[in-house]
Amino acid sequence: MNKIVAKQELATKIKLVEIYAPESVEEAKPGQFVILHIDEKGERFPLTIVDANISKGTISLVFNEVGKSTKQLGILEEGDDILNLAGPLGNPSEIENFGRVLCIGGGVMIAPLWFVASALRKAGNEIIGVIGARNKDLLIFEDEMKAISDEFYITTDDGSKGYTGLDFLNKILSQKNINRVVTMGSVVTMKAVSEMTKSYGIKTMVTLTPIMVDGTGMCGCCRVSVGGEIKYACIDGPEFDGHAVDWNLLVSRKRIYLPEERISSLLNERLGGINP
């Protein structure tokens, strides 16, 4: 059992939970994830670690309420328990002094990107921070990202704040000497960024989020194709070289259970978000 010790709504449907997880906190590194299993009937689902507080024994997670499991997590309150939490799983993001790193976070994944970017900064890198969302109301971790960035940009799909879309990145990529790009966000965002940076020949790391079950290399559900080779995102990743990723396969495999997810979601709404 792991207790939720703090909870906060960051934007519409985006929430942060701080969970007491003393067995996980010590090894929790930026870029790694945990697997949650809220109750006996729930599924195992991954969320990326956003912060780890060793003295309090807590880790923080930020999630988007997209379906049954995330909505169920969203209605839990401070003091409520999660039945099972395993992790940190996966490998930490590569943290070294690369020089100047462009860190691009999209949507809910801005939060875990901040954790990675903070570590990169501590390792001596100059950080160019970029955060983006559909519109200005969905931007999260703005102050936090700004605080660790030497240069900071905002972009929205609808132009309600900062730049519109990702085209402005071309200017940064062509004018600044950038040693590495790290991006976390939707598949669409990470793919677009990877395609852009490829022409500049800048190494670009992405975090892949295929469907997972165990998260320990036992099932092969999370298989992705990188550089023509099959990799398990849970134990070989989740951070991979964005230029080598087969994005179409990832998109296709993420959609395996769409009809079932819809059933779960509808049922969940009807039952008021609680497992019977």
């Binding site: 099932c219 298989r223 396969l249 495999r253 019977p276």
Partner: protein, 466 residues
């Protein structure tokens, strides 16, 4: 009336039409009357070949004798002496290749040996229902031992280490303990309340089980090695193998592990009451012919598939699955397609499996395994329509653990190297079960756990005396 010899008392089973719609146990178990009658058939051979062929040398003859005398309690305690989990071994051991296979009553009359497996399961179930437990006095010792993984190897190791008096902690990666017994073998073969009962017994005798602890991730092996006086590695061989043929990225293609984990551990057969989904089509092809293959095929049937075909490159005779599983699968309408090997999985433009290309095979001279080598017949490829494919061609040790323990010597196969006492190249660190053997059996894992416990005990005594 006592009838020595005679024919085996038949086991009552769930009717086929019923059982393919549920996950309850297929065999219904002997009644007291039946079990006694079955035991009374035993001719009590002097040399008891059944015991010699039991990988843990259970005192089978004495156990049978006690059952024949209706002394179920004593029979249970005898079984327990050598086997930590008789209720489970009785249900899953390949008895036909071990004890039952050498029973003189079965020689010349295949399947007529004493039904030792079902006898064993009966007495263990009886003990469970009547609250009979093996009691032992523990003289507590100060030393602590960590066991990694909670499958049968660790279960048996844990019991013996407690008997020696050690403080025992099991670290298990998943949210439920039991290893394959929990996540792999379906409930219609091994009801989960039995697994839970055996695990609760571990807790009762003072074994601490720490779930959600992935050694190498949230806790380092190296740290355990510092904190504990000795270690047993029973991490199994849980990583799926894929054939490496075209089309394995398609949706609708599962490793048997994923198929079984979703179905059994996560209870996808109860979706949407349980959240984890599974997509099982109407026409399912399952590749292989081992226990895992039979389990996957029978799960597919129970998930509603109309047509389930097992695709095997040899013939039924060479199939490594237990006889009972093959027989049950066939009864359930599953087709065993012999002498075919998949060459390609085909998909539609939405990325879903819609067919499988197979090549016909013929049998050649025996290979290393002693079974005839399957040889492809050139140009005999044909296509079979399927919408789900499950690959059950074996598993190998999980590289998650191994990559985090480079100091541990392994074979080219990724299995952990040990000496004859199951000690690895690291002092005080033992290993056994599938992590050391590759795909093997529950009973061999139990035997390893016991042997490793002895090795650990000897090692700690030695360390203390120097």
């Amino acid at each position: 009336m006592i009838q020595i010899g005679g024919t085996r008392i038949p086991m009552q089973e769930q009717k086929v039409q019923e059982r393919i719609k549920n996950f309850y146990s297929v065999p219904l178990g002997y009644t007291e009357k039946e079990v006694v009658a079955e035991a009374q058939r035993c001719i009590l051979c002097k040399d008891a070949p059944c015991e010699k062929f039991c990988p843990v040398n259970m005192k089978i003859r004495d156990m049978i004798r006690k059952v024949a005398e209706r002394d179920f309690k004593q029979a249970f305690l005898i079984a327990k002496e050598d086997n930590a989990i008789p209720a489970i071994a009785g249900r899953v051991c390949p008895q036909e290749n071990q004890c039952e296979g050498v029973c003189p009553l079965g020689i010349g009359f295949t399947g007529n040996g004493i039904n030792i497996g079902k006898l064993e399961a009966f007495i263990a179930d009886w003990a469970m229902e009547n609250g009979i437990k093996e009691k032992f006095y523990v003289k507590e010792r100060a030393e602590k031992v960590a066991l990694i993984g909670s499958g049968p190897a660790s279960i048996s190791c844990a019991v013996d280490l407690r008997k020696f008096g050690y403080k025992v902690t099991i670290y298990e990666a998943l949210h439920k303990a039991g290893g394959v017994l929990q996540y792999g073998i379906p409930a219609f073969r091994l009801p989960k309340d039995i697994v839970e009962y055996e695990l609760s017994y571990l807790t009762e005798i003072g074994v601490e089980i720490k779930l959600n602890n992935v050694v190498g991730q949230n806790i380092k092996f190296q740290k355990l090695n510092q904190e504990y006086d000795a270690i047993f590695i029973g991490t199994g061989a849980g990583a799926p193998l894929f054939m490496g043929i075209e089309g394995e990225k398609l949706k609708g293609l599962y490793s048997a592990n994923e198929f079984l984990i979703r179905t059994n551990l996560m209870k996808a057969y109860k979706f949407p009451e349980y959240d984890t989904p599974i997509v099982c089509g109407n026409k399912v092809g399952v590749i292989g012919a081992g226990n895992v293959t039979m389990d996957s095929a029978r799960c597919a049937k129970r998930l509603g598939a109309k047509n389930v075909q097992i695709l095997y490159r040899r013939t039924k005779k060479e199939a490594p699955a237990r006889d009972e599983e093959i027989q049950h699968a066939l009864e359930e309408g599953i087709i065993l397609k012999e002498l075919v090997n998949p060459t390609r999985i085909l998909g539609n433009d939405m990325g879903w499996v819609n067919g499988i290309e197979l090549i016909k095979m013929k049998l050649g001279k025996p290979d290393k395994s002693g079974r005839p080598r399957p040889i492809p017949i050139q140009g005999s490829e044909f296509i079979m329509e399927v919408d789900t494919v499950v690959e059950a061609i074996g598993t190998k040790p999980n590289r998650l653990f191994l990559t985090k323990t480079p100091e541990l010597e392994t074979t080219d196969w990724g299995t952990i190297k040990v000496d004859k006492n199951l000690m690895t190249n690291i002092k005080g660190v033992t290993a056994g079960g599938d992590a050391m053997r590759g795909n093997a059996t529950v009973i061999l894992a139990l035997g390893d756990g016991r042997k490793a416990a002895k090795t650990v005990h000897k090692y700690i005594l030695m360390k203390n005396s120097t």
